[in-house]
Symmetry: C2
Subunit: 153 residues, 2 copies
Amino acid sequence: MNPWIEQVIELASANVAQNGGPFAALVVRNGKVIATGVNQVARTGDPTAHAEMVAIRAACRELGSFRLSDCELYASCEPCPMCLGAIYWARPARVFYAASAADAGAAGFDDAFIYRQMATPHSERSIPMIQVIHEKAGQPFESWIHKPDRTAY
Amino acid sequence: MNPWIEQVIELASANVAQNGGPFAALVVRNGKVIATGVNQVARTGDPTAHAEMVAIRAACRELGSFRLSDCELYASCEPCPMCLGAIYWARPARVFYAASAADAGAAGFDDAFIYRQMATPHSERSIPMIQVIHEKAGQPFESWIHKPDRTAY
């Protein structure tokens, strides 16, 4: 048993006393913690300040890269859809987590609801998602594809 | 036809010339743009700096709230799973977008792949997601539930 899971659980518990949500995350590389994150939504008023997001952003600053290829992410709870999306963009090697999304749901967090919404047709979602057809809609991608020195990510 | 969709498409096109990805977003409230965002992943090295995330964070700073209840989000392209998750946490009233996730995929962006991964069992995902059973896993939620002055979000 490596020590990171217990460490991330303790960090999540400690964050509750700081008016944070009950979540924490660590990014580990070559056996060392290179970044930590705790939920800061209520404290900062930033709805994207989930523990995993904070830790991923800090790790990328630390490494000077938008990829976390050789890293492992430890989370006190299974990532919500937003954080799971961020994980796929940052691409750590693997993710370890302690509590499940169902545990988060039992504590009042909407993760499972959001996962279900993603599987729901756009027109039936609780937040309506409306495509507006516009003749210039493809223009940004055209500009991108024809830019020879673009940085793919 | 309101002007925001054309404005957000133009903003996305202009961002390509600034070494940004071909994406932009606006948050509109009471007929006024209160925040804008463009993709800044390559420019800042932050994999979470998608246009919608940047715009949501800026709008929340502007309003001093982690909720965008009376707002509309305009995006040059259908949001990726990370941004869709952020939308559900910020809860704008509705979302309008121009290009589709399939258009993004044709330009080389992995949105559709990530949506498919979310529907794939954890053990079969390209980034392994491993639950580590730990006796203290529920401790952060216990602390949260028993904190009488917690700020729910």
